[in-house]
Every structure is written in C-alpha cells, then in structure tokens.
Symmetry: C2
Subunit: 203 residues, 2 copies
C-alpha cells in the first residue's frame, strides 16, 4: 500500500467544488431522467448507456427501482402522495450525484409532468436532461417484459400507467427516443450523440 | 466534441458492476461515517479529507447538513422518529454512493448507536467505516463554532446532544480520532493512514 502522497496538506486551505470534480473527471455531472411507459425500454436503455459511458471512462450510475424502491424509498407505497414523494427523493439523490460530478441515469416511469418539473426546478440549468422514451402503449403491452400489462388488464394492478392511470408526455423534453420505431442500439446512439453534442461527456 | 468512441456497442452485452467501477476508479467505494458531538470537528475534517482525497484522484463526496437537510430530508423535523428517518435516508444514499464507487464521507452528529448500526447493517462488509470524532464536550462547548452550545445552555435549543440529550459513543468504531488532543492535521493524517492501510484508496 502506498504511503499518503499528500504530506503537506494545509488545513482549511481549500474546499472541493463541483467544478474541481468535473475537471478531474473530464466531463460534467448531470442527470439523464428517462421517463416513459412500463416496457418502453427505459431500464434497458439506462443499463446500455451506463455501459457505453463507463467504456469511455465517464463516471456514471443508474438509479432505478432495484436500488431505490428496496432501499431509500422502501417506506413508500403507491398512493398519490407516496408516488410524489418517491420521485421527489429520487430527484434529490440525482441532484447529489450530479453535484458529485457523476452522469447519473434514472429509469422510472415518472408519469406526472408536475413531479418531473419539480425535479427540474431543484437542479441548476442544464443539469436535468429529460429523456422521453417514447413507445406506443400497444407496443409496450405487446412486449410486456414483466407480464405487468397482463396483470393490469386482469384487474390485478390498479392504476397502471397507460391502462388505468395517465401518462403525461413531456412537453419539452431535452431528447426523445422513439423505441417503438428505432432499434435499441439506434436509441442508444441518439442519446450518446445528444450528450456528446451538448458537451456533457467532455472531449 | 469527439465522436462517440464506442461505435460497436452490442446491446445487452454487459451490465456494469461495482467491481468494474472500482477497477476504473482505481480505488474502492466506501462510506466514512463521521460521528461525534457538535463542534467536535466532523465537518471540518470531512472537508479536509475530501480535499486530500481529490488531490490523490480519489472520487469522493461529502454528505452533510448543508446538502441533505435542505434537500432530501427537508420534510423532516427533529422528533425522535424524524431523527431516525434522517439517518436512515442518509445511510441509504451513502450506500448508493458506495455502490457507485465513490468514497463518500458523512458528517452528522448521529448520536444514537442503533441508528448507526442500522446503517452498518444495510452495507456490505467493509463498506461502512465508523469514524468516531472524539472530543470532550467541554472542549466542544468552549469552541462552540456555531454558537449552538450557548443557545442550548440558554434553553433555546431543546434536546441538544451532549447537553440535554445523550450522545452514545461508538463501541467498536473502525477508527477514532481524538480532536481534543490531536491537531486537526494529525487527525486528518490518521484517517488517511487508516484508509491507506486497509487498501481503500488503491495503490
């Protein structure tokens, strides 16, 4: 194990800023907020984007149901209030990751415009990238990767987004990928091109 | 702006693991959980440790009252239940940062053993480093950097840790720094030596 390299630390000398972190990382911190119906491909796309970014040396992390619903938000159910609070907390965590200089990707249906807009509001300009994963509900239902649409049609899941509860499409998302038309790889490349074009990923 | 480097991404090919992230970062993810009285030096030490680690290229981030109490936990007050929930959520966020391969440092009084132990329990072995910032209450009160002890003595702050509410010392902290005896720089070097010795910071 190496010895501490910084032998001459001067106490109180400096506070690490977000800009310092971004300079060291070679890219910006930001939140790519994927929103779309169940089965639209959010999680698949998030995981693939994470892989592509890591391969380029970009610090990235995915927040999704697996690591949030069973941890931070395990006390929340599916009432309207709890759904709001679920998205609020995810937004706050995404903000922390953004400040930490991480490109973090969230993959939640997040069906309500007001909830997504509230997250946008707590972030600095440019930090929140709303990525609409746009896929017709018919195609999502046909795919039904988790069998949830079938259950919803059978009345086993009340208030299922797209079937018995609304999905409010983003009005001005930073990027839309049409996963009913594009291949998954095309959608991924569109996301990467957007991030590259806007300078999020550094040079 | 460079063009995407990963032109041949094969969809679904790989999932990024924590181990991948740690390999790329060159160090482990972990949570350094600073606990101690108000005025013991937790925040000062956290900020200095962050600076020292960033200077060594270690990905690090501080969670403290400034970025948590006004954001994620702004819905919480100071009732016993809310204090528990405050620490629970911070623990869950620290776990996410740890999984993301970040050395994250938390700086909260966190006076109750049970709350700290619950955080330890949700983490994998070795991920939770309890750092007891041990300073006699008399010295903390003498320093009183925020004037809180004065207010507590005047009865303006009920249930103030160390004065009118208990602080439960860690029984088996991973490391103790005695900030009433050591200089701040000595305490910092002790923390860095511990992390180095245990291999958290890579080679």
């Amino acid at each position: 194990m190496s010895k501490p390299k910084a032998q001459n630390i001067v106490w109180h000398e400096g506070i690490v800023t977000r800009s310092d972190r971004e300079t060291i990382a070679g890219h910006k911190g930001c939140t790519i907020w994927m929103t779309g119906l169940s089965g639209s491909g959010k999680s698949t796309l998030a995981v693939a984007l994470e892989k592509a970014l890591i391969d380029r040396g970009v610090r990235t992390f995915v927040l999704d149901g697996d690591n949030v619903r069973h941890g931070l938000n395990k006390d929340l159910g599916f009432s309207p209030e709890d759904r709001n609070e679920n998205i609020r907390r995810i937004g706050e965590v995404a903000k922390l990751f953004t400040e930490a200089g991480v490109v973090n990707i969230t993959a939640f249906i997040s069906p309500y415009r007001i909830d997504r807009d509230r997250v946008r509001e707590i972030m600095d300009d440019g930090d929140f990238i709303e990525a609409f994963v746009d896929c017709p509900v018919e195609i999502c239902e046909q795919r039904d990767p988790k069998g949830l649409y079938k259950k919803a049609r059978a009345g086993e899941i009340p208030e299922f987004t797209g079937i018995s509860a609304p999905y409010e499409e983003p009005e001005k998302p930073e990027i839309t990928v049409k996963t009913g038309e594009s291949s998954e790889e095309e959608a991924l490349q569109e996301l990467i091109s957007y991030l590259d074009g806007k300078g999020y990923l550094g040079s």
